[in-house]
Amino acid sequence: MPIQVLMPALSPTMEEGKLSKWLVKVGDAVASGDVIAEIETDKATMEIEAVDEGKIGRIFIEEGTDNVAINTPIAVILADGEDESAIDEMASNAAPAPVETPTAAIEPAVTETSVSSVVVEADPEIPSGTEMVSLTIREALRDAMVEEMRRDEAVFVMGEEVAEYQGAYKVTQGLLDEFGDKRVVDTPITEHGFAGLGVGAAFGGLKPVVEFMTFNFAMQAIDHIINSAAKTLYMSGGQMGCSIVFRGPNGAAARVAAQHSQDYAAWYAAIPGLKVVSPYSASDAKGLLKAAIRDPNPVIFLEHEMLYGHSFDVPVLDDFVIPLGSAKILRQGADVTLVSYSNGLTYTLGAADELAAEGINAEVIDLRSIRPLDMATIITSVKKTGRIVTIEEGWATCGIGAEISARVVSEAFDYLDAPPTRISSEDVPMPYAANLEKLALPSVDEIVVAAKAVCYA
């Protein structure tokens, strides 16, 4: 039987791609391992190889075609002794390749909430009439680093694959070209070592931006983050300031299982001597990262892989800096307060839309800063709504929601009309299987149910 070549998925987040080039033509013999085509994915240009031996029988998708969905048949390879007629026979038998819903790989909970549903209240940080430009989070983060590096010679970036490879998630794209290898430093795989080295460089007067490929790997380095970076100012009676940013993706990516999917916000938020930031939008990512780099203290900057490619409006301003420590109201409402951060807001905003359709107006708060925590904004909202649901990708036990609930109960007890409620990941390590992963993460439905419950609706 002729073998169909299907448009391949080439990254955990790819849904479609461009068939940029064919390297073979009809009639060419191919062996397994031969490169037959080039495909542009959401991240890079990749080559695809033949896995079977034979002859190219037909090409279905011409080169240069955009938006080819994964699993679309792109060509047919004929085995020894087969000719064109086998292709037509195959077509009439019409049982194309074994196809399971290709989106299985990317299913986990990133329901594409359209960003326009965010009813941003006139943002006090952005002067009215400011020109806006649409940027992805990835670009906004890069721009923040570029601007701070131009502004201050002491700022440098280091981490695994940040320079020549342009970042494992392409956040440091172009930095090496502009600033050279003195200021954009590829490290060996040695997190404990380079985190400690970064702390030493900060004691020595530099301003390191240390990228962890993901925060899961910062576990190797957590001793230096906590024992060295966070505590030394205190132990030295105020002499040893440590101006350093530890940044990178945090939380659950797609289908990478327990060791690569964890939200560390609550871990770092527990530590006096650290500041912890975790933005949702691109303008916050930019403004907060600039503030974090300027801050004289160690700042943990938690990004999210699932958000890197999302676009948002970012103000075109010479120096857009958002002070650390303030939450932001993404959507006003009087019925229930929903509090979240980072990718938790993807589910939260989706839930707010659904609730609105049912006549419940949720007020959505984006924490942005996890430590210090902007309790004033939360308390003001709870005094208005009398109800609060917290949403996080981390675990509930000793989590961000637990902390907020405790403080709401002690600071606004008399205003509460229902018990504070927490939505979080299930109390299990992150499973790999698509169906279990979905069950483990928070969902729009769970938030809707919880919000209605506290509204007694």
Partner: protein
Amino acid sequence: MATSRKASATKSRSSTKSKVATKKSKARTTNIFTPEQDIDAYREMLMIRRFEEKAGQMYGMGLIGGFCHLYIGQEAVVIGISMAINEGDQFITSYRDHGHMLALGMDPKGVMAELTGRRGGYSKGKGGSMHMFSREKNFYGGHGIVAAQVPIGTGLAFSNKYLGNGAVSVTFYGDGASNQGQIYESFNMAKLWSLPVLYVVENNQYAMGTSIARASSNMDLSQRGASFGIPGEKVDGMNVCAVKEASARALEHCRSGKGPFILEMMTYRYRGHSMSDPAKYRSKEEVQKMRAEHDPIEQVRARLLSSKTSSEADLKDIDKNIRAIVAEAAEFAQSDAQPDPSELYTDILIELDA
């Protein structure tokens, strides 16, 4: 910058050389296999290659999610070692683990079904490509954190010595991993306590996009145990005979109570680091040259044909059989059910009997 790093690498290499008596590999490229061994090696290496090609294809179809690291090009390393181990010896490695599992005789169906996250997978679908285990076959994972398996493998050796079971822990890690501090902490304890652990560095020249020259001050990874007094040797990891011969000697060293040994396997991965790596950090010519001149499977194939041990038709038959096994595994991995939702909450703690 790159040149000065290289210069210092050579300098530090020669300065550590005299410290430990080490046998330099004596270019053992001669065939030391019997025809039967050659056929076995051929079959087992081809099994890994076909399995990995299938996995790559299924990833492309969206049937496998997350990260998937293929072993194509490195087959001779695990097969050569598996031909030298004793029953009971353990393997432990990183996330690039499919080949190790097949080499230990784990069922391709169970491995493939774990890749697709189904209930018949070795971890019931909860671990995925990077995290698989089999107590029965002495495979201790499958670890996603670079170098974390090295102290754990050293701990397996500790238990071997403690229990006096005569087993050696074969602990694999990459050239990139060899810069993690925990490896040196492990080396010290392993030598201090004469633990039966064989450290196998799979030097495939790259850690993601970083070549060994850009990450390592001393590129001779076989000598990284020098300051602890651990002997080491560089081996042509593309030559399955050389791998088997060197590991037989090294395993004997570990088993006889002399403590750890380091084998640096010079090897190469043909594919990108994981499925989403376009591998722009190396030239096509470099990959093509490796494939054309050093392919571990081709080497054995050429030998089988030139010695007339096998005919083209014999080898085609072997390939056909392997393809059938792989196709069956792939079929199972697609038809097997997803885990039951209740599995979300199992295996977190072992329940005590009431």
